[in-house]
Amino acid sequence: MVTPLLVIVAVLAVAGGVVAVAAPNPRHATLGAFAALVLAGLIADPLPSAAGLVARLAGAALGGWLVWMALRKAPATAAQTALGWAGSTGVALAAFAIGWLAATAFAQALASSGAAAGDILGQTLGGGSLVDRAAIGAAAALGVLATAPVIMPRDGHRLGLGVLLLVAAGGLLCAALGSALADTLELALALLTALTGAAVAAVTAAMLDGSGDLVLRDALARELAVHHRAADEAHPGDTRSGVSE
């Protein structure tokens, strides 16, 4: 009964990731990332200890709340992924399927070689646990969803949400492949989630204070552009700067 429920939770976590990258409204996107973080903490076989679970939920709640609070002056819309809702959903589903299949192949290799016999990895993933496969699938989906905003960011807030999705994906991967997470690892993940949320909130607030929007401006490129423009205006006939009248 628990196993199918956890698989559904994994799918819901991926849905939260889709909302985080595709929703135009930054508040909706924050809610999506928050859902992904909370739900990712639940997906483990065996279930995490109560202390670990509480720590993960507290970390996710704190991180999400901080980001939410930083959005008080945020505009109603912001730059979302260029893939849109349908594209993001399709990419997420494909990545989920690839992760699921890779986990299945890996589990079969483990089972056939007897490499992990006796340890928890062998008993769960090697033993055909659907939860671990769903966790790896969800980790792959969240990781792929986070790739675009993290590597090619147009929006500082969305970049932060992408990083938070990566934190959720890392936790899922650890839970699936690293056997049962020790409480210290759960605590470390919770702290990293909360601290990342705080950092994203600080960056978001600084952006809204500085420019009133969430657009990520490349500081270096802008300064260089200003510098070159000033140089050209100071020496309009100077062909050395590449500009001649």
Partner: protein, 758 residues
């Protein structure tokens, strides 16, 4: 318990300083003091933390001398990194306080404390996953360091990229560190079946994992082609924060993946030469390109950033080596590079502040007024490359030698030495003819070509001989003919040969206006009194230090903007008015108790420190005006009258016609004190206290902090150079192998048990 105490102290101090420092006033001072004490306490606790007997839990379920049953345990390397990190952080905080005042510590101090906590967890973690997660969280300490000192969208963009580089790299490394052990089980289980032969899927997977780990570390260190954020940080972050941002925060994420490669991957001995070749190419690209760019880069901060990434980027060779033997040298290299580059970044920050420029060509001649900085740079160079038998050179040879076979190892070694031309260029520039930036900088007390320590103090005394009628008047004379050289030229004929030595070139340079003053970038602040604020102390260098500066500020003497400066031209002497001479005598009487000529008649003439055409005299509108006899009839045009910037005084008459002397104010004008100091109540006592403190007298205010602050500002240049020299000495010690660096780096850790360098 000591580790737990260390973490608790660090967390509480980081939170306390983050809360207290932005509040200013006494709260900020207490927070800063508490933060520095916490740094010392952290270093002490780290030094006292014992090695565990065993990381695994015993029969009773407890692992003694560890935290959380063996999750975190101390080790020699952890102790060394934390102690050195705390020491360098304390020195950088002191340096930043001297440079930027209390406001400079707002981000730096909490970030340093948080970084030490994170580094402790990362290096003491019992599993690679925990260490990598802690390393990622440590990297987030860069956010307060960037955002606390710089506002605006640009800084927010830089901070967003720091979040990305800190967390995303850690999570990628976490994924690899999680997958590799699982795949390694398959490899070990099928060793007989040769499933991991060259070209097999498992070998390819492991090669991919190794490559990803190397790229993650390269990206975190800022290696080329991930170097753009280094330039952005150099432009955005305060100089005092750069060592933390560029060196100490990436260190844990450099050390943890090296453990994964050396502990998990290397024992498998997989045929993954292609990945190793790619890593060697990446390291080669980084060292060659960064070294060359640093040599030709004219922006000092950027150049130092490139030198930093060139040295730190060398650690990716540990992944190419894929040999447990490089475990120790890689960690040794990380630590020595961190300490060395901290000293180098501090040197660049102090040099940029002292000479008011980041342009390397403008630093020509910097060694003459700053021999201590020169000595520090020399020590940094020695610490960077090392001498035979030193830990740093051994580590460099081990990394390059194990990463590739001949002749690539020689090529790697030669490429790693390509950073040398940048240092050579700076040192070579330092002995050249000084630029105007260098010429007007505050010299150190050991300055060459200028007054030495005692001589400098003599130079700060009031002029002693009887001057000519028009010599050395701190007034703005009308007409373009008056200049410093004009003053000197007019005075020389009136002096007997024995008491009127010809000015030395150095003196002439200091007394003449900067040759390129007109049209040059104006100083940040033209207010003479701004010299009391550490950040802009250099602008007042031409006006002297100590009593001269105080005198100038008391009489409202301001340095004219560069655009208004007239070029010096030797011309006919100008005869000042009688009123101007009387006013000068009265001013000297008010300041030193008697006319200058009557104080020390035997001392030789001192060159005037005020170029007359750079000065104007403005009143202190808030000054009370004690009556001075014989000073009536101050006329416009002499420059000695009260030139009101505000409506006339209480009497209602024009101050320019007021028959009173220019007063000795009892309060400093507000623009003399730093706005930050005034706004936040950081003023160490009354302004009068500052005056007395700067003149070497004990202030009546018994506030010890005020006295320390005043003394620090008085000896700012020397203190800054001393801090850089201390960092350079520390770097030299670490590079030489002191503190058993190599041995500590070779120790196995809970995350990488059973490894050794032999």
């Amino acid at each position: 318990m000591t580790l737990l105490a260390l973490l608790v102290v660090g967390v509480l101090a980081a939170a306390g300083t983050a809360w207290g420092l932005p509040r200013g006033g006494g709260v900020a001072r207490v927070a800063a003091l508490g933060g520095v004490v916490a740094l010392a306490l952290i270093a002490l606790l780290a030094a006292l933390s014992p090695n565990p007997d065993a990381v695994a839990a015993d029969a009773t379920g407890a692992a003694p001398r560890t935290l959380w049953n063996g999750a975190i345990a101390a080790g020699g390397y952890l102790r060394l990194v934390v102690v050195l990190g705390a020491t360098t952080s304390a020195l950088m905080c002191a340096l930043t306080w001297l440079l930027r005042g209390m406001s400079g510590l707002r981000g730096l101090l909490p970030a340093s404390l948080a970084a030490l906590v994170g580094t402790t967890v990362a290096l003491g973690a019992a599993t690679p996953q925990l260490g990598i997660l802690a390393a990622g969280a440590t990297g987030l300490a860069s956010i307060p360091a960037v955002l606390a000192s710089t506002r605006g969208a640009a800084a927010a963009g830089v901070a967003a990229r720091e979040v990305r580089i800190a967390v995303a790299t850690a999570l990628v490394a976490l994924a690899v560190a999680t997958v590799i052990p699982a795949v390694a089980r398959l490899v070990l289980a099928n060793a007989a079946a040769d499933v991991a032969s060259a070209g097999s899927g498992l070998a390819a997977a492991m090669a991919f994992g190794l490559l990803v780990l190397a790229i993650v570390v390269a990206a975190r260190m800022g290696a080329i082609p991930y170097h753009v954020r280094i330039s952005a940080l150099a432009d955005t972050a305060p100089g005092g924060s750069l060592p933390l941002l560029l060196v100490w925060l990436p260190l844990p994420l450099g050390a943890a993946p090296v453990g994964v490669a050396a502990g998990d991957l290397a024992p498998l001995a997989l045929p993954i030469g292609s990945a190793q070749a790619l890593i060697v190419a990446l390291a080669l690209l980084t060292t060659v390109a960064a070294g060359l760019v640093a040599a030709f880069q004219d922006d000092l901060r950027h150049a130092v950033g490139y030198l930093t990434l060139a040295d730190l980027g060398l650690v990716v060779l540990a992944f190419a080596a894929l040999d447990p033997v490089v475990w120790g040298p890689a960690r040794t290299w990380l630590l020595t590079a961190a300490v060395t580059k901290t000293a180098l970044l501090a040197w660049a920050t102090v040099a940029g502040d002292r000479f008011e420029t980041r342009s390397v060509p403008d630093l020509r001649g910097w060694l003459r007024p700053s021999p201590m900085l020169g000595l520090a740079l020399g020590l940094i160079v020695v610490a960077t490359y090392g001498l035979p038998g030193w830990a740093v050179l051994t580590a460099r040879l081990a990394l390059t030698g194990h990463a590739a076979g001949a002749p690539w190892d020689a090529l790697l070694l030669a490429a790693s030495l390509l950073t040398l031309p940048a240092y050579a260029r700076w040192l070579w520039l330092g002995v050249g003819a000084p630029t105007s930036h260098v010429d007007r900088a505050d010299p150190e007390f050991l300055a060459l070509g200028g007054p030495s320590g005692p001589a400098r103090r003599l130079a700060l005394r009031p002029p002693t001989r009887r001057r000519g009628r028009d010599e050395g008047l701190p007034v703005e004379q009308e007409g373009p003919s008056l200049s410093t050289s004009g003053l000197a030229g007019s005075a020389a004929p009136t002096l007997p040969p024995a008491s009127a030595p010809a000015p030395t070139p150095a003196r002439a340079r200091r007394s003449a206006p900067p040759p390129a003053a007109v049209g040059e970038q104006p100083p940040r602040s033209m207010e003479l009194g701004a010299g009391l604020e550490p950040e802009s102390d250099g602008e007042a260098a031409d006006l002297g230090t100590g009593p001269q500066r105080v005198a100038a500020s008391r009489f409202g003497i301001r340095r004219k903007p560069a655009a208004q400066m007239r070029p010096a031209a030797p011309s006919k002497p100008v005869v000042p008015s009688k009123a101007a001479v009387e006013t000068k005598a009265a001013a000297e009487t008010a300041l030193w108790g008697a006319p200058v000529a009557a104080i020390e008649p035997d001392l030789p003439a001192q060159p005037t420190l005020f170029a007359a055409n750079e000065l104007e005299v403005a009143p202190n509108p808030d000054a009370e005006a004690p009556a001075q006899p014989g000073l009536g009839g101050v006329r416009a045009g002499t420059g000695m009258g009260r030139r009101p910037r505000t409506p006339s005084g209480p009497s209602g008459s024009s101050p320019m016609t007021a028959p009173r002397a220019p007063e000795v104010s009892k309060t400093l004008p507000e623009d003399v004190l730093a706005p930050d100091v005034l706004a936040r109540g950081d003023a160490p006592g009354s302004p009068d206290t500052i005056i007395r403190a700067r003149r070497g007298r004990a202030p009546s205010d018994p506030d010890a902090a005020a006295r320390v602050a005043a003394a620090a500002r008085r000896h700012r240049a020397d203190l800054l150079s001393t801090a850089v020299l201390a960092l350079a000495l520390l770097a030299t010690l670490v590079a030489s192998g002191a503190f058993d660096v190599s041995k500590a780096a070779c120790e196995p850790t809970p995350a990488v048990p059973g490894i050794s360098c032999s």
